[in-house]
């Protein structure tokens, strides 16, 4: 167990290190770091001071050490546009993205599992077939396009929900969240559903496949032979079996939900990290870009690590390669 955790930890450190090499390579080797990292509007004196501060006058391997040391100190440069440390800027936007991603993940589980189980239990019924057709469509639909349709339908045509923005927030456990007030809820609803759709098909497919596998097992027949009601068999015996893999996969996919929030945030003008990065790319605010990339990769790796460890604790019969395949 602890051997497993230590090995996973080492792996993660290696991946983060490789990432730092790649980002460094991208910024320092492909592009011109002076353009990339120093505000082009600064005057000559400032530029030279910055070159020295970043160690850009040193040989390449020393520059890498500078970069690494600064990154470890949490210094990922200053935004050209906002003149604020890039890291701080991004972290200020993180709660909005996190809230959106968490609400979306929960939605995809709470909608996807019942739908998937239904499709698994009644594969030949009209409902079962429509659920599966819908989930194939869900795989095909580009999510920004669905977002646009949502806006057209609910904001423009029906006028029942706002077209974008986060709306008012309420304080909850020291964080500003939307989902506690009715107004905030109306703002988060469309983007969250949009982002949830992205994983909904996956959850439906996993739950359906899981249900179909489980209902043919002997232990389900034995449960019937005990005289249990169909309700208890489905809600306890089947559900509990598919819950572990589905929740694990959604956990593993959480990083990609955050990455994908870039699209949803842009469509719905949701003030999170994703919208920030797109604006930064547009305005060539490179320190913010570099910082975002480092942070999201780091988050990604930490999430994967946590889920792996949690899963191996939850289910002693871990079959990680199975669920990842």
């Amino acid at each position: 167990m602890s051997v497993f955790i230590i090995r996973r930890l080492l792996q993660s450190i290696v991946v983060i290190w490789v990432m730092s090499l790649l980002v460094f390579g991208g910024v320092y080797l492909i592009g011109d770091p002076i353009d990339m990292l120093i505000n082009p509007e600064a005057d000559q004196e400032d530029i030279e001071a910055a070159i020295r501060a970043l160690g850009l006058d040193k040989p390449i391997h020393e520059q890498y050490w500078y970069f690494l040391a600064n990154a470890l100190k949490g210094d990922l440069g200053k935004s050209f546009i906002f003149s604020e440390p890039a890291l701080q800027l991004i972290l200020a936007r993180a709660p909005a993205t996190m809230e959106l991603a968490i609400v979306a993940s929960l939605m995809s589980i709470m909608l996807g599992i019942p739908l998937g189980m239904w499709a698994g239990l009644k594969p030949d019924s009209i409902a079962g077939k429509s659920i599966m057709t819908g989930s194939i469509l869900g795989f095909s639909l580009p999510s920004f396009w669905v977002g646009i349709l949502f806006i057209m339908l609910f904001a423009v045509m029906l006028g029942v929900l706002p077209a974008g923005g986060r709306g008012p927030t309420t304080e909850f456990l020291g964080l500003q969240v939307s989902f506690l007030s009715a107004k905030g809820l109306s703002h988060i609803l469309l983007p969250a559903v949009n982002l949830a759709l992205f994983k909904l098909s996956l959850v439906i497919r996993l739950s359906r496949a899981g249900t179909q596998e489980v209902i043919h097992q002997d232990y389900i027949k034995f449960a019937r032979a005990k005289g249990l009601s169909e309700r208890r068999i489905i809600l306890v015996h089947v559900l509990k079996n598919i819950l572990i893999p589905v929740v694990t996969v959604i956990g593993l996919e959480f990083g990609s939900v955050i990455a994908f929030a870039v699209v949803t945030e842009t469509v719905f003008a949701w003030p999170g990290m994703g919208k920030l990065i797109i604006e930064s790319i547009d305005q060539l605010d490179r320190p913010v870009i570099v910082a975002y990339l480092m942070i999201i990769v780091f988050m990604f790796i930490v999430i994967n690590l946590l889920v792996d460890i949690l899963y191996s604790i939850l289910d002693p019969r871990v079959r990680l390669q199975d669920i990842r395949a």
Partner: protein
């Protein structure tokens, strides 16, 4: 309990699989009946039909299953559910698969108690505990809190048996419960089931493909072949004075001590496909005694009212 001309067919894409095709037998109170036949002969499907648990695309197409005068084939799902686990219980072949891997033993046993008795959680747990003690599981309190994967195969089968015994049913259908176990464990379980039967007076249908298992256990034996019972009788009659050529073949193919050194006999040919059975007696293509008469359906013959009956035109009658 009596099964009368039961037919259970599976309506698959490839055709109709006649898994059980006219089975009749009866089980008296306190009696142990062995249902013997090679795998694929329809034994499990017979058991599931009694429980009302035939999976689609399967369906009981005709016949009656009389349990205390009530026809279970006609009984509704509600009625069947109230009988299952309470009056009729079933034990399955593979103990590794019969317990839900993600639920604790106590959950799985207590839900079985609560399915039929309106009792408190506390007394449900107490009954589960008692049932575990009855089947000889040491330190039951600890065991109740464990998950199935923490048990050995033999232990799991004991848990399954304990679960089946929770409501002291009138009939237990045991579908090859020892096939997947080691020989020593098999012996222990056989011994305990026999003891429990005697103590509680319940009836038992013991399904197996192994004649030697039922030899010491069953009062009567039904030999099944391709969805039909070909021979029925008291255990000693069927084993010592078998009449059907198939039963004879089965007995001769069991390795035994007093025929050491002689080559083992085997039944030539293969089990027929249930999708498309040979006409008449299904066994005739493999039977040494068959001729064109066997292309017709053989009737049940019961020589001399011994309760020993056979479904064959040319039964072995000479020895006796």
């Amino acid at each position: 309990m009596a099964v009368e001309d039961l037919k259970t067919h599976f309506f698959t894409k490839l055709g109709v699989v006649k898994a059980v095709n006219g089975v009749s037998f009866s089980v008296d109170k306190g009696e142990v009946v062995g249902l013997v036949g090679e795998s694929g002969s329809g034994k499990s499907v017979t058991g599931f039909s009694i429980m009302g648990l035939v999976d689609p695309p399967g369906r009981v197409v005709s016949g009656r299953i009389l349990f205390k005068g009530e026809d279970l084939v006609q009984a509704g799902e509600r009625r069947m559910r109230s009988l299952r686990g309470r009056r009729i219980a079933m034990i399955f072949q593979d103990p590794m698969m019969t317990l839900n891997p993600v639920l604790r033993i106590d959950t799985q046993m207590m839900e079985a108690v609560k399915a039929h008795a309106d009792v408190s959680t506390q007394s449900a747990r107490e009954r589960a505990r008692e049932a575990l003690v009855r089947v000889g599981i040491p330190s039951p309190d600890e065991r109740l809190k464990a998950y199935p994967h923490q048990f050995s195969g033999g232990m799991r089968q004991r848990v399954a048996i304990a679960t089946a015994l929770l409501h002291k049913p009138d009939l237990i259908v045991a579908d090859e419960p020892t096939t997947a176990l080691d020989v020593t464990i098999q012996g222990q379980i056989l011994y305990e089931v026999q003891k429990l039967c005697r103590e509680t007076g319940m009836s038992l249908i013991w399904i197996t493909h192994d004649l030697s298992v039922v030899a010491g256990l069953a009062d009567r034996i039904c030999v099944m072949y391709a969805g039909v019972i070909v021979e029925t009788g008291a255990t000693s009659d069927v084993l010592d004075r078998s009449m059907h050529p198939y039963t004879k073949g089965l007995i001769e193919s069991v390795p035994s001590r007093n025929r050491r050194g002689q080559p083992l006999a085997q039944i030539p040919g293969m089990t027929p496909s249930l999708l498309n059975l040979p006409p008449g007696c299904s066994f005739h293509p493999r039977c040494p005694r068959a001729d064109e008469v066997c292309l017709a359906e053989p009737a049940i013959a019961e020589p001399a009212g011994t309760g020993h009956s056979v479904r064959c035109f040319y039964p072995h009658l000479e020895q006796g």
